[in-house]
């Protein structure tokens, strides 16, 4: 019985390890780790650019502009 457990554990470990390696290999190869800034910015566009807030209570406009960070990304 113990042998079966160890084989299953080893198989699980191989799955764990193999999957992680495969995933990272693929991610590295296709540039998922190279253009990180592009990835992060992919949800913004010219119409709703970085630095533009897109939500507020209807009766209360954002009275103060964003203080930090937002402008730093605007390049």
């Amino acid at each position: 019985m113990n042998t079966v457990i160890y084989i299953l554990l080893a198989a699980g470990l191989l799955f764990f390890g193999g999957t992680t390696l495969a995933a990272f290999y693929w991610a590295a190869k296709t540039g998922q780790f190279r253009n990180l800034e592009d990835g992060a910015k992919s949800i913004f566009d010219e119409d709703e650019p970085v630095g533009t807030a897109t939500d507020a209570f209807a009766d209360k406009q954002a009275d103060r502009p964003l203080r930090r960070g937002a402008m730093a990304f605007k390049s």
Binding site: L8, L9, A11, G12, F15, F16, T19, A22, A23, W26
Partner: protein, 207 residues
Amino acid sequence: MNRMPVIVTGIFLTFLSSWVGLVAYPYLALGRYTPVTDEATGDINPPPLSGLAERGQQVYASAGCIYCHSQQVRQVGYGSDLERGWGARPTVARDYMRENPVFLGTMRTGPDLANIGARQPSVMWHHQHLYQPGVVSPGSIMPSYKYLYVTRPIEGQRSAEAIDLLPPDTAPDGYEIVPTAEAEALVAYLLSLNRNYPLPEAPEPPQ
């Protein structure tokens, strides 16, 4: 366009590992038990359920007893289950081979029932308790299961199965409270809950 297959493969493989460990392995190792014959006494353990108790098992599921009662005696070092007298030994996977569904439970708003048949062997106690928990267990917040009982006029002699020792005004004069078939089945199931028999992997500890 080669991302899709890789993402999908990765997603499936990570999941597959847990499927192997937590589904396939338990099925192979914990899902194929056979009963054991005790050489000293000739008993088959765990004992098969009677037809009535098997129906009671479904009443137990239908009434949702599991939401307050567990059915497991944990190992030494994990809580006071043994000290409380909830069982003579910790329960093991083979004890549950006949259970469907299994009522291990995750709450103890009420006490553990793994061996309730041994701890409370009286049929009448269970009927009293199910009909009006406070009568036999003061302070209990268990609801009454009066929907499993009928109140009917006494015809001639009081029925043998009518519940006694309830407070005087529970039923009107001339009426008696008798269990339905479901209540009889549920009590038969509760009485069958006795996992104090020895198994090779779980010998009963010396008293």
